[in-house]
């Protein structure tokens, strides 16, 4: 109720206050054609000025700033990418070097082992040959000794037989005879065998 009364009050007040004005200017101001030409003119002037200032100065400037930032970010990303790939390369190079070194160490170990084995085999062969030589020599010596001993045994047998014959039989038998007799015996033995 109060609100309606207030609105009524305002409308009448507005009409009373506006009454004088309307008589003076003749129309509701937004529809009053007196200043239409002036408004169009000044709107075109100011808007043209604003358009020129914006399109020639302000907007290229803001566009430039945004472009610059975008370029900078792209550049930074490129650099980061480059550094990262460089780091990758360095790491792969390091890994390669490590693998090479390992392979080389392995080879060296294998070579050393092979050389050692060869040496051992050589030395073993040498020692074996020496042992064989020494053994052969020893056998030879043994054989000589045996031959010599056998010869001596025959001589001793002959002299013993001579002595025995001399003592028992009173016969004089020279050692030469005894030796011949032994030989004859030996050959007979051999024939019977």
């Amino acid at each position: 109720m109060t609100l309606i009364a207030l609105i009524n009050m305002a409308v009448t007040a507005a009409q009373e206050a506006g009454g004088g004005e309307h008589e003076a200017s003749g129309a509701f101001p937004p529809f009053d054609p007196t200043y239409f030409a002036s408004q169009i003119f000044w709107l075109l002037v100011t808007f043209a000025a604003l358009y020129l200032l914006m399109s020639r100065w302000i907007l290229p400037r803001i566009g430039g700033i945004i472009e610059e930032r975008r370029d900078r970010i792209a550049d930074d990303l490129d650099t980061a990418q480059q550094i990262s790939s460089e780091a990758d390369e360095t790491r792969s190079a390091y890994e390669q070097a490590l693998a090479d070194a390992r392979a080389r160490a392995h080879n060296l170990a294998a070579e050393a082992k092979a050389a050692m084995d060869q040496e051992i085999a050589d030395e073993t062969a040498e020692v074996d040959a020496e042992i064989a030589a020494k053994s052969a020599e020893a056998e030879n010596k043994l054989a000589d000794a045996r031959t010599k001993a056998l010869a001596e045994v025959r001589g001793i047998a002959a002299s013993a037989a001579t002595e025995a014959v001399n003592l028992i039989g009173g016969l004089t038998v020279t050692e030469k005879d005894a030796d011949e007799a032994i030989k004859a015996l030996e050959s007979r033995q051999e024939k019977s065998v």
């Binding site: 109060t2 207030l6 009050m9 305002a10 007040a13 507005a14 206050a17 506006g18 004005e21 200017s25 509701f28 101001p29 937004p30 529809f31 009053d32 007196t34 200043y35 239409f36 030409a37 002036s38 408004q39 169009i40 003119f41 000044w42 709107l43 075109l44 100011t46 808007f47 000025a49 604003l50 358009y51 200032l53 914006m54 399109s55 100065w57 302000i58 907007l59 400037r61 803001i62 566009g63 430039g64 700033i65 945004i66 610059e68 930032r69 900078r72």
Partner: protein
């Protein structure tokens, strides 16, 4: 006696007379507000982007956001080819926005000695909004014919319609095209006019209640609260109408670029 006439804010006063070829082109308070909008926009934008900082400050951020906002608007409704009109749409948007915002000052003394001026909203005059919308339509028709030639008329003959229906569709399209400058200008004008009248009517209630007597003065709190709410609403409308005007401009420019739709 205080003046509570809500129509007074729309009055135009001559500041400096100017007459060319018999036309009254006087510099008025309306022209002053147009000039103020242009100068303030240019100055603020220039100051905000003066440092050309890689990491923007507050002012530069706002300038960049406005730039991106309008650029996205143009791109989304008129495509990348529409970007050639970006400076025009940007100027239109920022000019209407600034004019609407300066209109939000209830009282704006002019820096001219001896002249005491009320607040004024440039866009609350039909002739201003009509001029702006005719500017848009001139560009749409002019560029549409320049770029597409005779094919621009395809705008009135939409594809995919059975031929018999063209008898109905074409007149509708023509009427809809012709009503564009009217709807574009009246929408902005009516919004600003109605909003500001409402604002001043309620503000007038406060003054009248204050003058009515001691007890009525307390009731004045009610219209005062209303004025606060309406002021907030008017700020929204001031932005929204500038946005609506700009986006409709983009949509109409899209027709000039691609009339076959």
């Amino acid at each position: 006696m205080v003046d509570t006439n809500p129509i007074k804010q729309f009055e135009i006063h001559e500041v400096a007379p100017l007459e060319i070829a018999g036309l009254n082109l006087a510099f008025t308070n309306s022209a002053f507000f147009m000039l103020l909008a242009t100068a303030a926009v240019t100055l603020l934008m220039a100051l905000a982007t003066n440092k050309r900082a890689l990491v923007p400050g507050r002012g530069q951020s706002i300038a960049e956001i406005l730039y991106g906002f309008v650029a996205d608007m143009v791109r989304s409704s008129a495509g990348n080819e529409g970007l050639r009109f970006f400076p025009f749409v940007f100027s239109l948007f920022i000019f209407i926005l600034a004019a609407n915002m300066f209109g939000m000052f209830p009282y704006m003394p002019l820096p001219i000695p001896g002249v005491d001026f009320h607040g004024f909203t440039v866009t609350s005059h039909i002739i201003v909004t009509l001029t702006l919308s005719m500017m848009v339509m001139t560009i749409v028709v002019g560029f549409g014919i320049y770029k597409n030639g005779f094919k621009f008329l395809k705008l009135f003959v939409p594809a995919g319609v059975p031929p018999i229906l063209y008898i109905i569709v074409t007149p509708i399209e023509v009427i809809s095209f012709l009503s564009r400058p009217i709807s574009l200008s009246v929408r902005l004008f009516a919004n600003m006019l109605a909003g500001h009248i409402l604002l001043k009517v309620f503000a007038g209630f406060i003054v009248m209640l204050g003058a009515a007597g001691a007890a009525w003065g307390i009731v004045g709190i009610l219209p005062f609260a209303m004025v606060i709410g309406l002021t907030a609403l008017e700020f929204l409308v001031a932005f929204l109408q500038a946005y609506v005007f700009a986006i409709l401009t983009c949509i109409y420019l899209n027709d000039a670029l691609h009339p076959a739709h």
